[in-house]
Subunit: 183 residues, 2 copies
């Protein structure tokens, strides 16, 4: 039996034991203004700031955020060093990089990856109820790239963060029906 | 007590119950050649292809990959619809997008986000032993942006995937010492 669940050219069947404990830990995005970005990710998406790292010599700060339900905050250490280990061990950390001064430099804006030259596309969040989530986003003044009922792929939304990065929003249970005609 | 572990401007203290079940599920990167990219992510990084979705009308395919130790493959359903729900529910999925024909179109290459215009920076993987991991990457012919002993931040490496995206490689246990002078 294959260790992959679908077929494709290029798949390596052998699972090298050297990779057994590898963890896809983080995705890093540059941000212009940390106050604006942190407000968005901690209010609109409910994320928690797990670790802040200031690099004085190089004049930048990293902010590591995660989706943590309040009852799971106890999983995280209050000891700075322990929490650094946790921050770099666990899956699905969002790393925001702030180069000091960007927030007051009118010449600085970051590239979403969705205009030329294209590359990175988006990050994506699962939500329990897409329509409720999008109504809430609208009430919070969030900018939409695509509302759930726009375009061909009903039931999937794209919002924009304050830097213009795209964030896909979907409800997993609804996707088999949504994708049904396309498999 | 704050629900955040460090201080910063912009943090929202209240955790809106509407966001309690939000999951940071995915990071999407466009790739030129799926055979080349899948070989890299399944061999060099040991990832598993969880779901492939072909969109015939729009002429693109999505490949969803995860770091799954072999003993945890049983957590994933062999039923396509169940596995779609899992694919979009779980944290730390890597989504690779292939626009058909890119692989044979010399004019197409994707932007890493680390040259102008900058934006997305990198994805990052935790590995149990940074030196062993990097020796193995070298033996596999992986391109390095930074080896662990290069530059100022010893013990952290950056490799490049076949499209040129940067991938940070680090060993969590070693980071408190490494970052010690900077906190």
């Amino acid at each position: 039996m294959s260790r992959h669940f679908d077929q494709a050219q290029g798949l390596t069947e052998e699972h090298d034991p050297a990779t057994h404990e590898f963890v896809f830990n983080q995705t890093m995005l540059r941000i212009k203004d940390p106050e604006r970005a942190l407000k968005f990710y901690t209010s609109v998406l409910g994320m928690t700031l797990i670790k802040r790292l200031d690099f004085d010599e190089m004049k930048f700060t990293l902010y590591f955020l995660a989706c943590i339900p309040p009852e799971r905050l106890i999983d995280w250490s209050n000891d700075d060093n322990q929490r650094i280990v946790q921050t770099f061990s666990r899956p699905a950390m969002l790393e925001l990089t702030h180069n000091w001064g960007d927030e007051s430099d009118d010449s600085v804006s970051y590239h979403s990856g969705n205009e030329q030259p294209k590359g990175f596309g988006h990050i994506g969040f699962a939500v329990p109820h897409i329509d409720d989530a999008c109504e809430r986003f609208e009430s919070l003044g969030v900018e939409f790239k695509k509302k759930p009922n726009d375009g061909g792929m009903k039931g999937i939304a794209f919002i924009k963060d304050p830097d213009g990065y795209w964030i896909e929003i979907f409800t997993p249970d609804r996707l088999p029906d949504l994708l049904g005609g396309r498999l």
